[in-house]
Structures are given as C-alpha cells and as structure tokens.
C-alpha cells in the first residue's frame, strides 16, 4: 500500500514535470539564489549582489525583447528608494505599472508609503 503511495507521488512528479515547462518566457536569472543569500546574511554586500541580479533581469529581458517578470522592477525601485535614491526608484515603480497595469494600485501604495517620513531610517544598515 505504501508502495502505491510512493508510485503515485513519483507519477505526479513526472506529470507535473511535463506541465511546468515555461510557457511564459520570463527570465528570472539568479533571483531566488541572490535573494536567499541576502535573507540568510542581510549585509549590504548581499543586498548589492541581489540588486545586481535584479537589474540584470530587467536589462537582459529588454535585450531579448522579453517582458520583465512581475514584481522585479517594483522590487528594484523599492530598494533604490530605501537607499535614498528616490527619483531613480520612482522610475522603476512606474515601469512596473506600465508593464503590468494590474499593479497600479500597489505601485501607488508603495509610492505613498515611500514618500511618507517614517520612523525608520532611509538606509538599512
């Protein structure tokens, strides 16, 4: 009986392996790895490395005439704003809203929050 369960799992994995071929051709680059590294070890060095991956995804997608994956421009813009580079950050937030109109309300929310003076420091150590 246990065997059967295992077979089912393997079968399911086989089936899903077929189903998850990438039909939407996004280029996510090394997103998961660099973000994971930063979360594991939240230093400025790791943040810069993740930023580098984000901008590579944005530029690399443009070069290949691909759509930038959802959230990437917004994340990049958000980090820039947090670092004090508000004008540049706003540009990337706008780019997110242009690429994905359904993100408009969210982008507006980010902008409002970003322009509010919060108790938090602009730069995270």
């Amino acid at each position: 009986m246990k065997r059967l369960g295992l077979l089912a799992v393997v079968g399911c994995a086989l089936l899903s392996a077929c189903a998850t071929a990438r039909p939407v051709p996004y280029n996510w680059g090394g997103y998961s790895s660099s973000l994971y590294s930063f979360k594991k070890d939240p230093t400025d060095e790791k943040l810069q490395a993740h930023k580098q991956v984000l901008i590579q995804i944005i530029q690399g997608s443009a070069e290949k005439s691909l759509k930038v994956p959802p959230g990437v421009c917004a994340e990049y813009g958000y980090i820039l704003i947090r670092e004090g580079n508000t004008a540049e950050g706003m540009k990337y937030l706008d780019l997110e809203a242009q690429t994905f109109p359904e993100s408009k309300a969210f982008v507006e929310r980010v902008k409002t929050q970003a322009s509010q003076p919060t108790a938090e420091k602009e730069k995270t150590p």
Binding site: L7, A8, L14, R22, V24, A105
Partner: protein, 226 residues
C-alpha cells in the same frame, strides 16, 4: 541486459501513470471558481512555517513568485509586500489569516491572496547523500468574495545527494543545481523549487499564459477532500 531494462522501465512508467488515473480530476471540476472569477494578480503572503526547520520560511518565500508567474499570474513582489506590511504592524502571516481577504484588494489591489503553509521539512543524511521531505499546503482566496479559489497540497521527497526522486526535466535541473551548489543549505532552493513545481502546476492558468482559459480539461491528481 540494457535491452531488457527499457521494456521493464516502460512497464514501470505505465504502472505509475495508471496508478494516478483513477485519482485524476479535470481542473474545471476541481477549481470551478477560478474559471468564474479569473483572478489576474496574486498577493503571496510570507509562508506559514509548521515545521521545526526555522529557516524553511525564508527559503520558501524566495521561490514562489517564479512558478506562479510561469503559470500566467501577476505576482506582487513578495519582499516588498512583506516589508510594507511590517510598516503596518503585521509581521506574521499567522496574524493575517483572519484578516478579511477583501482588505488585500483595498490595500494592494490584489485579485486573490495566497496562503502557503510549509507542513514538512525533514532532512535525512546518509554517508553518500541524503534527502529532504517537503510538504506544502496552498490556499488561494478571492479578495472579492473571500471564497477559496484554489487549494492544493503535496508532499515530495527530493534526494540531495546522488539521484533525484522527482525525475523528468525538473529532476535533471535539480540534479545539476544540486551538484553545482556545494553548501548543504543552498540545496534547499532546488528542493523548494521542485515542491513548488508539483503543487503550483495544478493552478488553472492565468491571463499571461498562452493557454489561459483553455485548460479546463487538463487532468490533475485529485486531492483528498476532508
């Protein structure tokens, strides 16, 4: 010897496939509300960790946007969302589970909100290699009606040493990644990715998928209903 192996493998694969057959269900029957509501954007909340692996949550949140985007959805940047909610005083998804889903529409403009629970994250090490057993529970709620749109769970065992349990193309990719990354912790990303692939492939396709609205008849494994 090799020649014998191939038919044996074929039989094995067939057995595997037919083992699934009675448990299959069409996507439209499993998740009818997805086809009615057609959500475009998904807000992923930080995963809820039910395991003793303290870091499982951190690993997980970095791997969820990718597979959901491949299925055709707009996915809000999880890190930004988490950070913004912290500003509002919401640090854990545990505290958000009782928030009316409509709030996420109001606040972020999301069509649906995804709750992910990590139910298993067990590692085992042998002399040569080891494996991780991952359990994942996903629940997508409409931010319009609050109804459950999609719900799926799965348990997967992925070997982190030599071979990979899942097989197929993803298995191969995982194997390459596992070989490439030497540190034990980094192995978790391909493990998480494989578990995601299994569960998230069952969601009906979203607006940016070329087969959007055409996958009603696609068969998936039926989950036991409570």
């Amino acid at each position: 010897m090799k020649k014998r192996l191939i038919p044996a493998m074929t039989v094995c694969t067939l057995a595997v496939l037919s083992a699934c057959a009675p448990n299959m269900v069409a996507k439209k029957d499993a998740f009818p509300l997805m086809y009615q509501e057609k959500p475009i954007s998904i807000l992923v909340l930080p995963p809820i960790n039910e395991t003793t692996a303290a870091d499982a949550k951190e690993y997980y949140s970095t791997t969820l946007a990718q597979p959901l985007s491949y299925m055709g959805y707009y996915v809000f940047p999880i890190e930004v969302v988490t950070d913004m909610m912290k500003h509002e005083g919401a640090y854990d998804t545990e505290t958000l589970i009782n928030v009316p889903p409509q709030k996420f529409k109001e606040y972020f403009g999301a069509d649906a909100v995804l709750f992910v629970k990590i139910t298993k994250w067990d590692t085992a090490y042998y002399v040569i290699g080891g494996h991780v057993t991952v359990g994942l529970d996903c629940l997508l709620k409409s931010t319009t009606t609050g109804a459950e749109l999609w719900k799926y769970d799965g348990v997967l065992q992925v070997s982190t040493g030599g071979g990979v349990g899942g097989g197929g193309l993803i298995g191969l990719a995982v194997q390459i990644a596992v070989t490439a990354i030497k540190t034990a912790t980094a192995d978790y990303i391909p493990v998480a990715q494989q578990a995601n692939a299994m569960v998230i492939s069952t969601i009906p396709t979203g607006r940016y998928h070329p087969k959007h609205g055409q996958d009603q008849e696609v068969q998936i494994m039926r989950k036991q209903q409570k």
